[in-house]
Symmetry: C2
Subunit: 411 residues, 2 copies
Amino acid sequence: MEFSLTRDRFVETMRTQAEIGATENGGLHRLALSEEDKEVRDWFYEQMERAGLTVRVDEFGNMFGRREGARDLEPILVGSHLDSQPYGGIYDGALGTIAALEFVRELNDREITTERPVEIVNWTNEEGSRFQPTLQGSGVWSGALELDVQHAATDEDGLSVEAELERIGYKGDHPAKPATDYDSYLELHIEQGPYLEDNNKDVGIVTGIVGLTWGEITFFGEANHSGATPMHHRSDAMVAAADVITQVRRIPSTLGERTVGTVGSVDVQPDSINVIPGEVSFTYGFRDSDARTLQEAEERVLREAKAAAEREGVTFEHEDRANAEPVYFEDRCVDAVRGAAGDLQYDSMDVFSGGVHDATHVNSVCDTGMVFAVSEGGKSHTEEEYTSWADCYSAADTLAGAALKLANDKL
Amino acid sequence: MEFSLTRDRFVETMRTQAEIGATENGGLHRLALSEEDKEVRDWFYEQMERAGLTVRVDEFGNMFGRREGARDLEPILVGSHLDSQPYGGIYDGALGTIAALEFVRELNDREITTERPVEIVNWTNEEGSRFQPTLQGSGVWSGALELDVQHAATDEDGLSVEAELERIGYKGDHPAKPATDYDSYLELHIEQGPYLEDNNKDVGIVTGIVGLTWGEITFFGEANHSGATPMHHRSDAMVAAADVITQVRRIPSTLGERTVGTVGSVDVQPDSINVIPGEVSFTYGFRDSDARTLQEAEERVLREAKAAAEREGVTFEHEDRANAEPVYFEDRCVDAVRGAAGDLQYDSMDVFSGGVHDATHVNSVCDTGMVFAVSEGGKSHTEEEYTSWADCYSAADTLAGAALKLANDKL
């Protein structure tokens, strides 16, 4: 008999988690280490114990539940995150965490003993909304981020991660690092983009995660009277910034089919209707699956900034904000996901993730793969985020099938 | 003997006023109705009394000092304002107010009785920094602004103009309106622009004040994930705004030699490096001496907004923020200023004011003229504002000469 999740229970579990931190508009307000996060953690802890898992919490609050295998091999790890954006959707990382729980429940129901142990995981603070950076729990666990530094990170009210972990009872006793070697990691997440829906697919086989280059450019012009200063006497920092912003819209189309570029944040000084802007800072970000394309994008934006500065008679400074290399998943994990989708007759396509995920960090620890669920309209980080139960189930079922393959992979 | 101000005393008086609210960097911090404003008002009150003027303060704090003439004719009015920007220069309106005081002192020294009475004035809150709008005292006095409404205007701390007038003792007993018909009004102000310096002139004959049209445009796009959303799925409000901002730089050059256009303020939501801007508001402002040009500028910016919205798949709203017709001074006042500059052998040129001044409002009450002093580098509303004592004196001397002409003009 084919291995498939129990659909009714899966949907019921999704609905139950969605009640914890539910917003009036059908979304979630479940910021990392908040009361709502504590509540969903307590509930998840109890569900893992009821499913017979050996639960452990590490000193960064990452929650693991272990189900032994037939042999003492490296375990597979499956999961995602239960925290949300301030006004996020009920799917996001929760779908992947619930799918992992339903996977082990299904193994229990069917009395299947996998060759390898199976661990499921809920990572701490994936969102990076309340505490920065994003991917904090998996970053510490994988060694990309330092435990002490991240424990000391504070929210807007000055509360630290460590203090909040202690307050809600989730600063665990286990070291925040891999307890053992792992065979592989699988994560289901919503796509947060439109490709699956645009192509009428049931599920996405994620082959990797785009890299990114983020920076900030500040133009220094001359703040002056907006009436008395003739146009040819102006050094307008906002005009220079606007020139570059229009080019950030254009640069991706000259580089790659799926290159994206965004100016998300702009700060204008003195920001008065009656004064020529003297100083304007803005952020830019480019993403692509090719590291050389990212480098070229950054070079182009700096050339545009230089040209705009010359045109407008202003100076500028450039600051690197973040750089991440593209991630390419191992073939055996991608093949396991593709094989499971095929076995289950789901219509799938390969996609490259435009957003980062906990899999980004875990990929440095063990072989990694991801499944994407359809995001209607590509919307995410909003209460309007939506994935039909059918699409949720297709993705969760594919994840479970892939996880079973890897858990029984003895090599 | 030619009528000229006493140079040493004039410079000394300028230096004295500049000590009240002086900043470390040689500027002024003398916000309307602040402690510093009270101090400079007390000092100015005393100087007017010592000069033998009959002092009165109106219920909006405008301060008048009257010197009788030989005949019972409509008086001439001469003055400006003593308040400053948060970090302004020591010249701005103070130069014009001190020049008016030195004019009556010089009349006293020379025992000149003018045909018409002479009144000098210090207008309340010209700057509009602490309380909005700008030109508040002269606006109320001339009837353009309503007394009750402006009394109720509050600063950032919720303190009202009326309460602050009472606190510093400058809510006077006289009605805030013209006490009599006035023959004419003359005001000296720094140019706040570069034309006089660029043309190596000693003094500017102001022929009028530009009109302006101010507005705000808000683009509504779709906030979305900056990585997972492909370029062709975006409706980026910031890109649309940037398109229009670059056009506001360009539009003036298609309209008039001295048309100016500025985007001074920009607000981006949600303003995150990682999110495509969903809503962006920005202000625009155009100024010109021709009302039709202003209308054309507004129409063009709206056409650009429409085109940008179509390109980017966003919508927009437009809000009028302010409109002011250009002001053209009466020939007899302009001629009096030009004649005085010529008599005194100052090298002058006609200029149109790019900024608004109390003269804008007073022009609706009586014939009005203005004298401009050189602004080095065109800088104003900054501690770097600078006018040499020679240039201050040339302008003050011209003002005095013109005022004497009008005060002896019996028609």
